[in-house]
Protein backbone atom coordinates (compact mmCIF):
# COMPACT_ATOMS: atom_id res chain seq x y z
CA UNK A 1 0.00 0.00 0.00
CA UNK A 2 1.28 3.45 -0.92
CA UNK A 3 -0.02 6.85 0.11
CA UNK A 4 0.58 9.93 -1.94
CA UNK A 5 1.67 12.36 0.76
CA UNK A 6 0.84 15.90 -0.38
CA UNK A 7 4.25 17.04 0.86
CA UNK A 8 6.49 14.07 0.12
CA UNK A 9 4.93 12.26 -2.82
CA UNK A 10 4.07 8.56 -3.02
CA UNK A 11 5.48 6.67 -0.07
CA UNK A 12 5.22 3.15 1.20
CA UNK A 13 2.69 2.42 3.86
CA UNK A 14 5.39 1.65 6.39
CA UNK A 15 6.32 5.33 6.72
CA UNK A 16 2.87 6.07 8.12
CA UNK A 17 1.14 5.59 11.42
CA UNK A 18 -2.56 4.84 11.28
CA UNK A 19 -4.81 6.32 13.93
CA UNK A 20 -8.44 5.70 13.02
CA UNK A 21 -11.55 7.25 11.63
CA UNK A 22 -11.65 10.91 10.59
CA UNK A 23 -14.32 11.18 13.29
CA UNK A 24 -11.39 12.12 15.50
CA UNK A 25 -11.33 15.48 13.77
CA UNK A 26 -14.67 16.47 15.24
CA UNK A 27 -13.91 16.88 18.91
CA UNK A 28 -16.98 17.69 20.97
CA UNK A 29 -17.14 20.85 22.99
CA UNK A 30 -15.74 20.58 26.48
CA UNK A 31 -19.21 20.61 27.99
CA UNK A 32 -20.75 18.23 25.49
CA UNK A 33 -22.86 15.37 26.80
CA UNK A 34 -21.22 12.07 27.60
CA UNK A 35 -22.97 10.56 24.58
CA UNK A 36 -21.18 12.98 22.28
CA UNK A 37 -17.85 11.94 23.77
CA UNK A 38 -18.79 8.27 23.48
CA UNK A 39 -19.58 8.76 19.80
CA UNK A 40 -16.38 10.70 19.30
CA UNK A 41 -14.09 8.23 21.01
CA UNK A 42 -15.71 4.87 20.36
CA UNK A 43 -18.62 4.56 17.97
CA UNK A 44 -17.89 4.23 14.28
CA UNK A 45 -19.71 3.91 10.97
CA UNK A 46 -17.00 1.42 10.05
CA UNK A 47 -18.08 1.28 6.43
CA UNK A 48 -17.32 -1.57 4.06
CA UNK A 49 -16.51 0.82 1.25
CA UNK A 50 -15.35 4.39 1.13
CA UNK A 51 -14.12 5.74 4.41
CA UNK A 52 -12.04 8.65 5.65
CA UNK A 53 -9.36 8.05 8.17
CA UNK A 54 -6.30 9.64 9.69
CA UNK A 55 -2.70 8.75 8.95
CA UNK A 56 0.45 10.35 10.31
CA UNK A 57 3.51 10.62 8.13
CA UNK A 58 5.65 9.78 11.10
CA UNK A 59 8.76 8.85 9.14
CA UNK A 60 8.36 11.70 6.72
CA UNK A 61 7.05 15.22 7.08
CA UNK A 62 5.09 14.51 10.31
CA UNK A 63 1.89 15.75 8.72
CA UNK A 64 -1.38 14.29 9.86
CA UNK A 65 -3.32 13.33 6.76
CA UNK A 66 -6.94 12.71 6.00
CA UNK A 67 -7.15 9.80 3.61
CA UNK A 68 -10.22 8.87 1.64
CA UNK A 69 -10.02 5.25 0.66
CA UNK A 70 -11.98 2.09 0.11
CA UNK A 71 -11.83 -0.46 2.90
CA UNK A 72 -12.81 -3.29 0.58
CA UNK A 73 -10.44 -2.71 -2.34
CA UNK A 74 -7.79 -0.64 -0.52
CA UNK A 75 -7.99 1.91 -3.30
CA UNK A 76 -6.75 5.32 -2.13
CA UNK A 77 -9.03 8.06 -3.41
CA UNK A 78 -7.44 11.14 -1.92
CA UNK A 79 -4.87 12.25 0.62
CA UNK A 80 -4.91 15.71 2.14
CA UNK A 81 -3.51 17.39 5.22
CA UNK A 82 -6.00 17.60 8.09
CA UNK A 83 -7.91 20.84 8.22
CA UNK A 84 -6.77 23.23 10.91
CA UNK A 85 -9.27 24.77 13.24
CA UNK A 86 -9.63 26.38 16.62
CA UNK A 87 -9.92 24.13 19.63
Amino acid sequence: MRLNCPHCGPRDRREFYYYGSADYLNRPAADAALQAWDDYLHNRDNPAGVTQDLWYHEQGCTAWLKVKRNTVTHEILSVEPVAGGAA
Binding site: R14, Y19, H42
Partner: protein, 416 residues
Protein backbone atom coordinates in the same frame (compact mmCIF):
# COMPACT_ATOMS: atom_id res chain seq x y z
CA UNK B 1 -25.10 -41.00 13.78
CA UNK B 2 -22.54 -41.40 16.53
CA UNK B 3 -18.89 -41.16 15.56
CA UNK B 4 -16.34 -43.53 17.05
CA UNK B 5 -13.21 -45.45 16.17
CA UNK B 6 -15.30 -48.57 15.73
CA UNK B 7 -17.66 -46.76 13.39
CA UNK B 8 -14.70 -45.56 11.31
CA UNK B 9 -13.51 -49.16 11.01
CA UNK B 10 -16.88 -50.70 10.16
CA UNK B 11 -17.71 -47.95 7.67
CA UNK B 12 -14.23 -48.24 6.18
CA UNK B 13 -14.67 -51.94 5.63
CA UNK B 14 -17.94 -51.38 3.82
CA UNK B 15 -16.72 -48.68 1.48
CA UNK B 16 -17.66 -45.68 3.64
CA UNK B 17 -21.11 -45.82 2.10
CA UNK B 18 -22.98 -45.33 5.33
CA UNK B 19 -21.77 -41.90 6.37
CA UNK B 20 -24.64 -39.49 6.39
CA UNK B 21 -24.51 -35.71 6.01
CA UNK B 22 -23.11 -33.97 9.06
CA UNK B 23 -26.08 -31.61 8.96
CA UNK B 24 -29.29 -31.11 7.04
CA UNK B 25 -29.70 -28.47 4.38
CA UNK B 26 -33.13 -27.12 5.32
CA UNK B 27 -35.11 -24.38 3.64
CA UNK B 28 -35.88 -21.49 5.96
CA UNK B 29 -39.22 -21.65 7.75
CA UNK B 30 -41.46 -18.60 7.93
CA UNK B 31 -40.95 -18.20 11.65
CA UNK B 32 -38.63 -19.31 14.43
CA UNK B 33 -38.46 -18.68 18.14
CA UNK B 34 -35.03 -17.19 17.65
CA UNK B 35 -32.68 -16.38 14.84
CA UNK B 36 -28.95 -16.16 15.00
CA UNK B 37 -27.36 -14.10 12.26
CA UNK B 38 -23.99 -15.56 11.46
CA UNK B 39 -22.93 -19.17 11.01
CA UNK B 40 -19.40 -18.82 12.27
CA UNK B 41 -17.99 -20.34 15.41
CA UNK B 42 -19.78 -18.00 17.80
CA UNK B 43 -23.12 -18.20 15.99
CA UNK B 44 -23.03 -21.98 15.80
CA UNK B 45 -22.07 -22.38 19.45
CA UNK B 46 -24.81 -19.94 20.43
CA UNK B 47 -27.31 -22.07 18.54
CA UNK B 48 -25.94 -25.25 20.07
CA UNK B 49 -26.22 -23.98 23.64
CA UNK B 50 -29.63 -22.40 23.05
CA UNK B 51 -30.81 -25.85 22.08
CA UNK B 52 -28.84 -27.80 24.62
CA UNK B 53 -28.94 -25.58 27.72
CA UNK B 54 -32.21 -23.79 27.18
CA UNK B 55 -34.27 -26.22 25.17
CA UNK B 56 -34.80 -23.70 22.37
CA UNK B 57 -34.78 -25.89 19.29
CA UNK B 58 -37.11 -24.00 17.00
CA UNK B 59 -34.31 -21.71 15.98
CA UNK B 60 -32.26 -20.98 12.89
CA UNK B 61 -28.74 -19.89 12.08
CA UNK B 62 -28.59 -17.70 8.97
CA UNK B 63 -25.27 -17.75 7.16
CA UNK B 64 -24.62 -15.70 4.06
CA UNK B 65 -21.85 -18.02 2.81
CA UNK B 66 -20.95 -21.48 4.02
CA UNK B 67 -20.86 -22.54 7.67
CA UNK B 68 -17.62 -21.55 9.34
CA UNK B 69 -16.61 -19.22 6.53
CA UNK B 70 -15.44 -16.42 8.78
CA UNK B 71 -12.66 -16.14 11.29
CA UNK B 72 -13.28 -19.60 12.74
CA UNK B 73 -11.58 -20.99 9.66
CA UNK B 74 -8.77 -18.48 9.38
CA UNK B 75 -7.13 -18.04 12.74
CA UNK B 76 -4.00 -19.37 14.41
CA UNK B 77 -6.01 -21.88 16.47
CA UNK B 78 -4.75 -20.83 19.90
CA UNK B 79 -6.82 -21.72 22.96
CA UNK B 80 -5.85 -20.13 26.27
CA UNK B 81 -7.24 -18.63 29.46
CA UNK B 82 -4.53 -16.18 30.44
CA UNK B 83 -6.35 -12.89 30.84
CA UNK B 84 -5.81 -10.84 33.95
CA UNK B 85 -8.59 -8.32 34.32
CA UNK B 86 -11.61 -9.32 36.35
CA UNK B 87 -14.35 -9.66 33.78
CA UNK B 88 -12.12 -11.30 31.23
CA UNK B 89 -10.53 -13.79 33.60
CA UNK B 90 -13.68 -15.63 34.55
CA UNK B 91 -15.02 -15.63 31.02
CA UNK B 92 -11.98 -17.20 29.37
CA UNK B 93 -11.60 -19.58 32.27
CA UNK B 94 -15.13 -20.75 31.66
CA UNK B 95 -14.37 -21.10 27.98
CA UNK B 96 -11.31 -23.23 28.61
CA UNK B 97 -13.30 -25.55 30.84
CA UNK B 98 -15.81 -26.01 28.02
CA UNK B 99 -12.96 -26.69 25.59
CA UNK B 100 -11.69 -29.39 27.88
CA UNK B 101 -14.76 -31.50 27.37
CA UNK B 102 -15.60 -30.45 23.86
CA UNK B 103 -14.82 -33.69 21.99
CA UNK B 104 -17.09 -35.66 24.30
CA UNK B 105 -19.71 -32.94 24.31
CA UNK B 106 -19.90 -32.71 20.54
CA UNK B 107 -18.86 -36.25 19.63
CA UNK B 108 -16.47 -34.60 17.24
CA UNK B 109 -12.71 -34.55 17.45
CA UNK B 110 -11.79 -30.88 17.49
CA UNK B 111 -8.25 -31.93 18.41
CA UNK B 112 -8.02 -29.66 21.39
CA UNK B 113 -4.40 -30.05 22.33
CA UNK B 114 -3.24 -28.71 25.68
CA UNK B 115 0.38 -28.60 24.76
CA UNK B 116 1.20 -25.55 26.85
CA UNK B 117 1.56 -21.91 25.95
CA UNK B 118 4.63 -19.88 26.84
CA UNK B 119 4.54 -16.09 26.84
CA UNK B 120 8.11 -14.86 26.77
CA UNK B 121 9.19 -11.71 28.54
CA UNK B 122 12.22 -9.61 27.84
CA UNK B 123 12.53 -7.05 30.63
CA UNK B 124 11.88 -6.72 34.33
CA UNK B 125 8.83 -4.60 33.60
CA UNK B 126 7.35 -7.24 31.32
CA UNK B 127 8.11 -9.90 33.88
CA UNK B 128 6.21 -7.98 36.55
CA UNK B 129 3.24 -7.60 34.21
CA UNK B 130 3.28 -11.33 33.47
CA UNK B 131 3.54 -12.16 37.14
CA UNK B 132 0.45 -10.08 37.73
CA UNK B 133 -1.22 -11.98 34.91
CA UNK B 134 -0.09 -15.39 36.16
CA UNK B 135 -1.42 -14.63 39.61
CA UNK B 136 -4.74 -13.53 38.15
CA UNK B 137 -4.92 -16.85 36.34
CA UNK B 138 -4.28 -18.79 39.53
CA UNK B 139 -6.70 -16.61 41.48
CA UNK B 140 -9.26 -17.61 38.89
CA UNK B 141 -8.43 -21.28 39.40
CA UNK B 142 -6.47 -21.69 36.19
CA UNK B 143 -2.82 -22.62 35.86
CA UNK B 144 0.34 -20.62 35.37
CA UNK B 145 4.01 -21.28 36.02
CA UNK B 146 6.74 -18.66 36.03
CA UNK B 147 9.81 -19.79 34.12
CA UNK B 148 13.19 -18.16 34.39
CA UNK B 149 15.56 -18.10 31.45
CA UNK B 150 16.82 -21.61 32.15
CA UNK B 151 13.28 -22.82 32.58
CA UNK B 152 12.43 -21.46 29.16
CA UNK B 153 15.53 -23.07 27.71
CA UNK B 154 14.39 -26.46 28.95
CA UNK B 155 11.12 -26.14 27.07
CA UNK B 156 12.30 -24.18 24.05
CA UNK B 157 15.98 -24.98 23.49
CA UNK B 158 15.83 -23.68 19.95
CA UNK B 159 15.29 -20.04 20.85
CA UNK B 160 18.19 -17.67 20.26
CA UNK B 161 19.27 -17.12 23.86
CA UNK B 162 22.57 -15.51 22.95
CA UNK B 163 22.08 -12.97 20.19
CA UNK B 164 18.45 -11.98 19.98
CA UNK B 165 17.82 -8.23 20.11
CA UNK B 166 15.69 -8.42 23.25
CA UNK B 167 17.14 -11.08 25.54
CA UNK B 168 14.83 -13.71 26.93
CA UNK B 169 14.38 -13.14 30.65
CA UNK B 170 11.84 -15.88 31.15
CA UNK B 171 8.33 -16.88 30.36
CA UNK B 172 4.90 -17.50 31.75
CA UNK B 173 3.86 -21.08 31.05
CA UNK B 174 0.16 -21.79 30.83
CA UNK B 175 0.15 -25.59 30.72
CA UNK B 176 -3.53 -25.86 29.82
CA UNK B 177 -3.11 -23.49 26.91
CA UNK B 178 -2.79 -24.97 23.46
CA UNK B 179 -4.49 -25.29 20.12
CA UNK B 180 -7.46 -26.88 18.41
CA UNK B 181 -8.42 -27.75 14.84
CA UNK B 182 -10.32 -24.62 13.89
CA UNK B 183 -12.69 -25.88 11.19
CA UNK B 184 -13.60 -28.88 13.30
CA UNK B 185 -14.93 -26.60 16.02
CA UNK B 186 -17.38 -25.02 13.60
CA UNK B 187 -18.36 -28.37 12.15
CA UNK B 188 -18.71 -29.99 15.55
CA UNK B 189 -21.02 -27.27 16.84
CA UNK B 190 -22.93 -27.24 13.56
CA UNK B 191 -23.49 -30.97 13.67
CA UNK B 192 -24.46 -30.81 17.34
CA UNK B 193 -26.92 -27.98 16.77
CA UNK B 194 -28.42 -29.65 13.72
CA UNK B 195 -28.88 -32.86 15.67
CA UNK B 196 -30.89 -30.92 18.24
CA UNK B 197 -33.17 -29.55 15.55
CA UNK B 198 -31.56 -26.22 14.79
CA UNK B 199 -31.97 -25.19 11.14
CA UNK B 200 -28.59 -24.20 9.71
CA UNK B 201 -29.36 -22.17 6.63
CA UNK B 202 -26.43 -21.43 4.35
CA UNK B 203 -26.29 -18.97 1.47
CA UNK B 204 -28.88 -16.87 3.25
CA UNK B 205 -27.82 -13.28 3.71
CA UNK B 206 -29.68 -11.04 6.08
CA UNK B 207 -30.56 -7.80 4.33
CA UNK B 208 -32.70 -6.12 6.96
CA UNK B 209 -33.82 -6.31 10.55
CA UNK B 210 -37.50 -5.67 11.14
CA UNK B 211 -38.39 -3.66 14.21
CA UNK B 212 -41.86 -2.66 15.33
CA UNK B 213 -42.52 -0.42 18.32
CA UNK B 214 -39.05 -0.93 19.64
CA UNK B 215 -39.26 -4.71 19.37
CA UNK B 216 -37.57 -6.92 16.86
CA UNK B 217 -40.02 -8.99 14.82
CA UNK B 218 -37.81 -10.71 12.31
CA UNK B 219 -35.33 -10.31 9.50
CA UNK B 220 -35.31 -9.86 5.74
CA UNK B 221 -33.01 -12.23 3.89
CA UNK B 222 -32.01 -13.13 0.36
CA UNK B 223 -34.26 -16.14 0.88
CA UNK B 224 -37.26 -14.15 2.07
CA UNK B 225 -38.55 -12.68 5.30
CA UNK B 226 -38.24 -14.74 8.45
CA UNK B 227 -40.09 -13.88 11.63
CA UNK B 228 -38.64 -14.22 15.12
CA UNK B 229 -39.10 -12.48 18.44
CA UNK B 230 -35.45 -12.87 19.31
CA UNK B 231 -32.57 -12.13 17.03
CA UNK B 232 -28.89 -12.38 17.85
CA UNK B 233 -26.25 -10.63 15.77
CA UNK B 234 -23.10 -12.76 15.83
CA UNK B 235 -21.17 -11.64 12.78
CA UNK B 236 -17.72 -10.54 13.99
CA UNK B 237 -16.09 -8.29 11.38
CA UNK B 238 -19.47 -7.55 9.77
CA UNK B 239 -21.08 -6.38 13.00
CA UNK B 240 -21.24 -2.74 11.99
CA UNK B 241 -23.12 -3.49 8.78
CA UNK B 242 -25.68 -5.79 10.38
CA UNK B 243 -26.18 -3.56 13.42
CA UNK B 244 -26.71 -0.62 11.06
CA UNK B 245 -29.77 -2.47 9.74
CA UNK B 246 -31.24 -1.87 13.18
CA UNK B 247 -30.05 1.72 13.26
CA UNK B 248 -27.14 1.05 15.57
CA UNK B 249 -23.65 2.50 15.41
CA UNK B 250 -21.24 0.21 17.23
CA UNK B 251 -17.96 0.84 19.02
CA UNK B 252 -16.32 -1.43 16.47
CA UNK B 253 -13.76 -0.93 13.73
CA UNK B 254 -12.96 -3.80 11.35
CA UNK B 255 -9.33 -4.61 10.78
CA UNK B 256 -7.22 -7.16 9.00
CA UNK B 257 -5.18 -9.70 10.86
CA UNK B 258 -2.91 -11.85 8.77
CA UNK B 259 -1.81 -15.36 9.58
CA UNK B 260 0.64 -17.74 8.00
CA UNK B 261 1.27 -21.43 7.61
CA UNK B 262 4.38 -23.18 6.36
CA UNK B 263 4.79 -26.38 4.46
CA UNK B 264 4.51 -29.51 6.56
CA UNK B 265 7.46 -30.37 8.77
CA UNK B 266 8.25 -33.15 11.19
CA UNK B 267 7.53 -32.08 14.80
CA UNK B 268 9.83 -29.27 15.87
CA UNK B 269 7.72 -26.84 17.93
CA UNK B 270 5.79 -28.52 20.71
CA UNK B 271 4.22 -25.54 22.45
CA UNK B 272 2.49 -22.35 21.59
CA UNK B 273 5.17 -19.67 21.88
CA UNK B 274 4.51 -15.97 22.04
CA UNK B 275 7.18 -13.28 21.67
CA UNK B 276 7.02 -10.34 24.04
CA UNK B 277 8.87 -7.68 22.07
CA UNK B 278 7.33 -7.98 18.63
CA UNK B 279 4.18 -9.37 17.23
CA UNK B 280 4.80 -13.05 16.75
CA UNK B 281 3.18 -16.22 18.06
CA UNK B 282 3.62 -19.70 16.70
CA UNK B 283 2.61 -23.30 17.07
CA UNK B 284 2.85 -26.37 14.88
CA UNK B 285 -0.29 -28.00 13.59
CA UNK B 286 -0.80 -31.72 13.88
CA UNK B 287 -0.36 -31.87 10.13
CA UNK B 288 3.10 -30.37 10.50
CA UNK B 289 2.72 -26.79 9.30
CA UNK B 290 4.04 -23.99 11.47
CA UNK B 291 1.05 -21.76 12.11
CA UNK B 292 1.92 -18.24 13.13
CA UNK B 293 0.77 -14.69 13.16
CA UNK B 294 1.44 -11.17 14.26
CA UNK B 295 -0.43 -7.96 14.66
CA UNK B 296 -3.07 -6.23 12.61
CA UNK B 297 -2.15 -4.49 9.40
CA UNK B 298 -3.44 -1.57 11.49
CA UNK B 299 -5.72 0.17 8.99
CA UNK B 300 -9.47 -0.39 8.89
CA UNK B 301 -10.22 -2.93 6.18
CA UNK B 302 -12.67 -5.52 4.98
CA UNK B 303 -10.35 -6.92 2.33
CA UNK B 304 -9.51 -10.15 4.17
CA UNK B 305 -5.98 -9.89 2.83
CA UNK B 306 -2.93 -8.10 4.02
CA UNK B 307 0.14 -6.28 2.84
CA UNK B 308 3.86 -6.90 3.09
CA UNK B 309 4.89 -4.59 5.97
CA UNK B 310 3.28 -6.77 8.60
CA UNK B 311 4.30 -9.94 6.75
CA UNK B 312 7.90 -8.89 6.94
CA UNK B 313 7.65 -7.73 10.54
CA UNK B 314 6.30 -11.10 11.58
CA UNK B 315 9.04 -12.98 9.72
CA UNK B 316 11.70 -10.71 11.21
CA UNK B 317 10.35 -11.33 14.69
CA UNK B 318 10.49 -15.06 14.03
CA UNK B 319 14.07 -14.77 12.85
CA UNK B 320 15.31 -12.87 15.88
CA UNK B 321 13.52 -15.14 18.32
CA UNK B 322 13.88 -18.60 16.81
CA UNK B 323 16.19 -18.53 13.80
CA UNK B 324 15.87 -22.28 13.37
CA UNK B 325 12.60 -21.71 11.50
CA UNK B 326 14.37 -19.72 8.77
CA UNK B 327 14.33 -22.54 6.26
CA UNK B 328 10.70 -23.35 6.75
CA UNK B 329 8.77 -21.93 3.83
CA UNK B 330 5.57 -19.98 4.12
CA UNK B 331 2.96 -21.80 2.13
CA UNK B 332 -0.01 -19.56 2.50
CA UNK B 333 -0.95 -16.30 4.12
CA UNK B 334 -4.43 -15.00 4.63
CA UNK B 335 -6.35 -12.34 6.48
CA UNK B 336 -9.38 -12.31 8.70
CA UNK B 337 -11.64 -9.38 9.46
CA UNK B 338 -11.39 -8.57 13.14
CA UNK B 339 -14.11 -6.77 15.02
CA UNK B 340 -11.90 -4.49 17.08
CA UNK B 341 -13.43 -2.85 20.12
CA UNK B 342 -12.06 0.26 21.83
CA UNK B 343 -10.71 -1.66 24.82
CA UNK B 344 -9.89 -5.02 23.30
CA UNK B 345 -12.65 -6.82 25.17
CA UNK B 346 -15.87 -8.20 23.74
CA UNK B 347 -19.52 -7.24 23.91
CA UNK B 348 -22.29 -9.70 24.73
CA UNK B 349 -25.32 -7.63 25.50
CA UNK B 350 -28.85 -6.59 24.79
CA UNK B 351 -29.42 -3.63 22.53
CA UNK B 352 -31.84 -0.73 22.73
CA UNK B 353 -34.26 -2.83 20.69
CA UNK B 354 -36.22 -5.45 22.61
CA UNK B 355 -35.34 -8.94 21.52
CA UNK B 356 -32.24 -7.87 19.61
CA UNK B 357 -28.95 -9.05 21.05
CA UNK B 358 -25.38 -8.63 19.98
CA UNK B 359 -22.19 -10.62 20.41
CA UNK B 360 -19.12 -8.90 18.93
CA UNK B 361 -15.87 -7.14 19.65
CA UNK B 362 -13.70 -10.24 19.68
CA UNK B 363 -10.63 -8.41 18.51
CA UNK B 364 -8.26 -11.23 17.90
CA UNK B 365 -9.35 -13.34 20.77
CA UNK B 366 -12.40 -14.84 19.17
CA UNK B 367 -11.39 -18.41 18.52
CA UNK B 368 -10.66 -19.44 22.10
CA UNK B 369 -13.87 -17.72 23.18
CA UNK B 370 -16.15 -19.74 20.90
CA UNK B 371 -17.55 -22.10 23.55
CA UNK B 372 -18.10 -19.49 26.28
CA UNK B 373 -19.34 -16.86 23.86
CA UNK B 374 -22.02 -19.23 22.63
CA UNK B 375 -22.79 -20.31 26.17
CA UNK B 376 -23.22 -16.73 27.41
CA UNK B 377 -24.98 -15.42 24.32
CA UNK B 378 -27.43 -18.32 24.55
CA UNK B 379 -27.96 -17.53 28.21
CA UNK B 380 -28.62 -13.89 27.41
CA UNK B 381 -30.98 -14.64 24.53
CA UNK B 382 -32.90 -17.25 26.49
CA UNK B 383 -33.15 -15.49 29.85
CA UNK B 384 -32.70 -11.84 28.99
CA UNK B 385 -29.96 -11.62 31.62
CA UNK B 386 -26.19 -11.53 31.23
CA UNK B 387 -24.44 -14.68 32.29
CA UNK B 388 -22.32 -14.27 35.42
CA UNK B 389 -19.02 -14.68 33.56
CA UNK B 390 -19.98 -12.16 30.87
CA UNK B 391 -21.60 -9.48 32.96
CA UNK B 392 -18.92 -6.88 32.25
CA UNK B 393 -19.20 -7.21 28.47
CA UNK B 394 -21.68 -4.36 28.27
CA UNK B 395 -22.33 -2.35 25.17
CA UNK B 396 -22.48 0.91 27.15
CA UNK B 397 -19.30 0.41 29.17
CA UNK B 398 -17.40 2.83 26.97
CA UNK B 399 -19.90 5.56 27.69
CA UNK B 400 -19.72 4.90 31.41
CA UNK B 401 -15.96 4.39 31.60
CA UNK B 402 -16.02 0.79 32.85
CA UNK B 403 -13.19 -0.15 30.54
CA UNK B 404 -11.62 -3.62 30.23
CA UNK B 405 -8.31 -2.80 28.59
CA UNK B 406 -5.80 -5.66 28.95
CA UNK B 407 -3.26 -3.99 26.70
CA UNK B 408 -3.54 -0.59 28.30
CA UNK B 409 -3.35 1.08 24.92
CA UNK B 410 -6.52 3.09 25.25
CA UNK B 411 -9.57 3.75 23.17
CA UNK B 412 -8.01 3.23 19.80
CA UNK B 413 -9.58 0.25 18.08
CA UNK B 414 -6.52 -0.98 16.23
CA UNK B 415 -4.22 -1.09 19.24
CA UNK B 416 -5.72 -4.11 20.98
Amino acid sequence: MRYSGLKVITEGLFGNKGWRPAWRDPAPKAEYDAIIIGGGGHGLSTAYYLAKNHGMTNIAVLEKGYLGSGNIGRNTTIVRANYFLPGNSEFYSHSLKLWEGLEGELNYNVMHSQRGLINLFHSDGQRDAFVRRGNSMINQGDDAILLDREGVREHLPYLDFDNTRFPIYGGLLHPRGGTARHDAVAWGYARGADKRGVDLIQNCEVTGIDVENGRVIGVQTTRGAIRAKKVGIVVAGRSSQVAAMAGMRLPIESHILQAFVTEGLKPVINHVVSFGMGHFYISQSDKGGLVFGGDLDFYASYAARGNLPMVEHVMEAGMTLMPMIGRAKVLRSWGGIMDMSPDGSPIIDKTHIDGLFIDCGWNYGGFKAVPASGWCMAHLMATGESHAVARRFKLNRFATGHILDEEGTGSQHNLH
